[in-house]
Amino acid sequence: MSIESKQDEIIEEFETLGDDKWFVLEYVDDLGKKLPEIPKEFMTEEYEVKGCQSKVWLNAELKNGKVVYCANSNTSTTKGLISLLVRVFSNESPNDILKSEVYFPEKSGLQRFIGTQRSGGFAAMIKQMKLYALALSSKSQTDA
C-alpha cells in the first residue's frame, strides 16, 4: 500500500469516528497502545525528537530496502499520533518517504488534536522520520 493510500485510509477511519472528541481520543489512545514496544536502548536522549513538548523517541532501520520505524512517547495522545506516522511511513522505500507529503492530519480532522502547540512537535517528528529515510538511503547506496 502506498503512502498516499495509507493516508487516505486513515482519513476514512477518522471520518467514521465523528466529532466527539472523547471518542476520537479513545481511538487515538488505543492506536498508541498497539504501537510495538520500542527497544529500551532507543529510549535515550540520542533518539529523542527535539522540538516536541512531550518526549518522543524514534529510531529506524532498513529491512529489504524498506524503512521500518519504531517509536514511543511519554504521553498517550502523542503515542497515538506517532503510531499513525509510523503506519504511514513504515515499510516504504526511503525515496518514497522523502518525496511524500503528509496531508492526513488536516483532512482527517486530527489537526485539532495536534493543535498549534503541538504542530511544531508533529512537524519535527515528520522531519526526523525523513532524515532517517535520507540517512538510510545514503547508507544503502554506500553499502551497495
Binding site: 466527539d20 513538548q53 502523542t78 488534536f113
Partner: protein
C-alpha cells in the same frame, strides 16, 4: 457585598457572554484564569464603543475625536492610579503587559545603574519574564543574578531571603503570587528588608492584581508590573508603576514618537514621565476599555473576590485530593486560587486533552517556570485557576471529570 451567595455569582456570570457556550459538546468550564481571565460585557462594550465613536490617535490631534480618544486613554491612567493608590498619575506607565514592564525596568534602570559585582535577587518560582530580562541585563553589565531557593511546599523562607541580601544587592525582583503554584510570597516583609539593605524592589504583580488589593504606597515597592488580561481586561495592556524619582532617573526604553520633547539631527530631548516610556502609538482602544475592567473589579470588590476564590480553592482541595493518584504541587500556607497538580501515571498533556474533551479548559505544561519545574523534578503540571465567575458546581464537575479520566487510564 460581603456575603457570597450562589445568586451573586450567577449574576456575575451573566456579565461574561463567553462562559455561556458549549465546548466539545459540554458546557464550558473555564479554569485557565491565571493565563487569561475572561472579559465582562462592559469591557467588550467599551472596546466596541471606542471603535464606533472615538477612534483617533492620542495626545497630538486637536480635533474632537483625538480629544475624546486622549481623554479616554488618560482616564484609564487615572483609574489605575486610584486602583493601586499611587501617589501621582504620572507614575503609571502603560505597557503591553507584565513582561514588558519588567524588561523596561531591567533595561532603563538596570542597564544604566548596575555594574560588575552588583547582584540582582529573584525567587526560584519566577515566571521566565522575571528571569530572562535580568539574565540579559546581568550579561550586559557584569552584575550577578542570585536566586532565593524554594522549598518542597513551594514557599521561600524570609530568613533565607534576608541571608542573601547584602550591600551588593541592588535590585530585588520578586513575584507576589506564583503563577504556577499560587504561592503568596511575603512581599511586604521582603520590600522592607530589601530597602534596609539599600536595594530597589520590583514586584511582579501579574497574578496579584486580580486577587489582591495592591496599595503601592503602603507596600512601598519601587516598581510594580501587572497585566490587564489577567484582571478581566483586554489583552495587550499592562501597567508599570514606578516611583517618580526612579522613573525620572531612568533612560527611555524605546525611541519614537510621543516620548520626545524636541528632535533635531543634533540631538533629542525626552518627554516627561510617563510619556518618555510610551514611544509610538500605544494600544489605545484596549487601554480605554481596561478602565471598564477596573470599574468591574471595584464594583465586585476585593472582599467578594477573595471570599469567592478562596471558597473555590478550599472546595477544590477538599474533593480533588481524594482522587486516585492526585499529587498536588505546591502546598503553601498562603495560596491564591490555583491548584497545580499531577496524577500518578497520567501525563499532564494527556490530562489537558481529556479534560478539554469534557469542555474543561486548564493549563498544562511548565507554565513558563521551567526552573521551578526542575526544582520539583517534573516537566510540568496541570493547573486549574479560578476566577470570581467560577462556581462550586464547576469544581465538582471538574473533580468528576478527572475521576472519569483516571479510571480510564487505570483500566
Amino acid at each position: 457585598m460581603s456575603v457570597v451567595t450562589d445568586i451573586s455569582v450567577n449574576e456575575i456570570r451573566k456579565q461574561f457572554p463567553i462562559l455561556n457556550q458549549e465546548v466539545n459538546g459540554k458546557p464550558l468550564i473555564y479554569f485557565d484564569n491565571a493565563a487569561t481571565s475572561q472579559t465582562p460585557q462592559v469591557v467588550i462594550d467599551a472596546l466596541v464603543n471606542y471603535y464606533q465613536k472615538d477612534n483617533a490617535n492620542i495626545h497630538r490631534g486637536i480635533h474632537t475625536l483625538a480629544e475624546r480618544a486622549t481623554t479616554g486613554f488618560e482616564a484609564t491612567r487615572k483609574a489605575v492610579q486610584q486602583f493601586i493608590n499611587s501617589n501621582e498619575v504620572e507614575e503609571i506607565v502603560f505597557t503591553k503587559g507584565t513582561s514588558e514592564g519588567i524588561n523596561l525596568v531591567a533595561q532603563a534602570y538596570g542597564r544604566k545603574f548596575l555594574k560588575e559585582g552588583d547582584e540582582v535577587l529573584i525567587t526560584g518560582m519566577e515566571h521566565h519574564s522575571n528571569i530572562v530580562p535580568w539574565q540579559m541585563v546581568c550579561d550586559q553589565t557584569g552584575a550577578k543574578l542570585k536566586v532565593i531557593p524554594v522549598d518542597k511546599n513551594g514557599e521561600i523562607s524570609i530568613d533565607e531571603f534576608a541571608s542573601l541580601l547584602s550591600e551588593r544587592t541592588k535590585i530585588v525582583s520578586a513575584v507576589y503570587i506564583s503563577n504556577s503554584l499560587g504561592t503568596i510570597n511575603p512581599v511586604p516583609q521582603m520590600i522592607e528588608l530589601a530597602h534596609k539593605a539599600g536595594a530597589k524592589v520590583l514586584v511582579d504583580g501579574a497574578q496579584a492584581a486580580p486577587h489582591h488589593q495592591l496599595d503601592v504606597q503602603k507596600l512601598n515597592c519601587d516598581w510594580l508590573a501587572f497585566s490587564g488580561h489577567k484582571m478581566y481586561g483586554p489583552t495587550g495592556v499592562g501597567v508599570l508603576y514606578g516611583k517618580r524619582q526612579l522613573l525620572e532617573k531612568m533612560d527611555p526604553y524605546q525611541g519614537g514618537g510621543e516620548m520626545i520633547k524636541e528632535v533635531s539631527f543634533a540631538g533629542t530631548s525626552y518627554n516627561d514621565i510617563p510619556y518618555k516610556f510610551e514611544a509610538g502609538t500605544p494600544n489605545i482602544a484596549d487601554v480605554v476599555a481596561f478602565k471598564a475592567a477596573i470599574q468591574f473589579m471595584n464594583e465586585v470588590g476585593f472582599e467578594f473576590l477573595h471570599h469567592q476564590e478562596q471558597t473555590l480553592l478550599n472546595k477544590g482541595r477538599e474533593i480533588l485530593f481524594d482522587i486516585d493518584g492526585f499529587l498536588p504541587i505546591g502546598n503553601a500556607k498562603e495560596k491564591a486560587s490555583v491548584i497545580s497538580f499531577l496524577i500518578d501515571g497520567v501525563h499532564s498533556f494527556d490530562l489537558g486533552m481529556w479534560l478539554d474533551a469534557k469542555g474543561i479548559a486548564v493549563r498544562t505544561g511548565h507554565h513558563c517556570t521551567q526552573p521551578l519545574m526542575d526544582h520539583f523534578n517534573i516537566d510540568g503540571t496541570v493547573r486549574a485557576s479560578f476566577a470570581v465567575y467560577n462556581t462550586l458546581e464547576e469544581v465538582e464537575r471538574f473533580a468528576e471529570a478527572l475521576t472519569d479520566i483516571v479510571k480510564k487510564f487505570r483500566k
